[in-house]
Symmetry: C7
């Protein structure tokens, strides 16, 4: 199976734990080399956070479990990169 190099997921989470602790908890997944959590929106009840995760062989199930343990839900998987190196999304006129 092709290894996952990058994963971009859109996550909904309650205010607790805060983004910092949430990111550290997800970032503890063994298969992750680095994680970027960027706040998209917040309202009274939930925070919408975009996670960009990179690694040699990312374990999606472990990450999903950590996100859910921390109270979050994956709303959508917005980008998946597999293979020997990270291929970027090539810009096209259809974008």
């Amino acid at each position: 199976m092709a290894q996952i190099r990058r994963l971009v997921v859109d996550v909904l989470k309650p205010h607790e734990p805060p983004v910092l602790a949430f990111t550290q908890q997800v970032g503890d997944a063994e298969s992750i080399a680095g994680i970027n959590a960027t706040l998209l929106e917040l309202d009274k009840e939930v925070q919408n956070v975009k996670l960009t995760i990179e690694g040699e062989a990312i374990d999606y199930d472990a990450i999903e479990a950590l996100i859910e343990d921390a109270g979050g839900t994956i709303h959508s998987v917005d980008q998946v990169v597999c293979g020997e190196y990270i291929v970027e999304n090539a810009p096209t006129p259809q974008d």
Copy 2:
């Protein structure tokens, strides 16, 4: 025949298998060095995903078969790059 170095295709797929499993299945094609799957749109029935695929000699038929085996359809081929290296689309005033 000139070897294919990059292929950008616009794919329509049902919600199952999800983008992650779908990308890994297509990424298993032997001729692929890397694959980027970026979610463009999703509605109740289908997901619209843009695949950017790179390799030394990409086997289009094998990729199309893997996409169809995974329940997807190639809606359009948006970019093809052949040759000794990856030539980028040169910006022109007509763009």
Copy 3:
């Protein structure tokens, strides 16, 4: 005569052969190091494809012949670069 290093042409073609086969056929020209075919528009009858071609000494006549053999027509030549290296179009306030 100054050698052609890059050629950008706007091509109209019928749906058959598809963009992939079309690009490979044109990419077989001996004088080409690499070719990028980007889909601009498609309607029922024709596809509008932008070709960015690079090489050390591109043979325009051979490329035009291959395009026409594959059923396409060069609608316009949008950029030509000649010389010892690829000079980019310098941005100016008139753009």
Copy 4:
């Protein structure tokens, strides 16, 4: 626990101490390699400053304490990066 490499926080502060002294006070945190303070807005009572902080293992609690000692409040945590290197937020069509 995954180490924090970058932290972006939105801070509200009174006019005193001014941005310069404020940044130097926060920048004195031992865990910080560098800090960028960019003024977003200012009105009669408060200044809104965006802090981008980088380091090998940023100590959030120490930084929050220094911000509060200097009279500021963290209004939101806008980005957190953990891991072996700084992963940038990958652009996606959902942005």
Copy 5:
């Protein structure tokens, strides 16, 4: 105290001395490695100039004194960077 690496200030000044002489006078501060003065606006009475100043350990008080000696006033401090290297303002969706 964390050393200042970059300072961006918005300055109001009369027409005399002109921007050139003004920049050279401020640029003579010992703690400055380089200074960029960019004209933002000018009307009959005043010129609005943005100064980007870089150095290893910028002495703000000395710079403020030089600006005032040259007839200028610091209207706002728009960016301060401290630490071992220059950290750039990380782009976020809140920008």
Copy 6:
């Protein structure tokens, strides 16, 4: 006299010779290292082409003669760069 390193000219030309032959003819000037011809507009009678020419010591008179021999007219000289290296147009708020 300072040597010309880059020259950007806006040229009007009839449809014949086409852009390709036109560029090769101008590109044959001995003083040119490379030339980029980008199509700006075309109507029934004329083509508007932007030429970006680079070299160590560009001979403007020779280039103007070649353009005119090929039926073209220099409508405007939009950029001239002289000196030891190519200085780019620095962006300013007045742009």
Copy 7:
């Protein structure tokens, strides 16, 4: 006195001498390493040209004299960079 590394000036000039000769005349200043002249606007009487000048120790008075000898007038000094290296104008939210 801090040495001038870059100077951006907005110049008004009559149509004669043309931009090319004008740039070469100004570019002959001993203190200049390179000069970029970009046409901003032209009407019947005057041309508006932006000069970006780089060097180790630019002599403003000599350049102003050369501009005036060539019939031009400095309308405004839009950027001045002094110091050990060229500091770029740092982008800020106030831009």
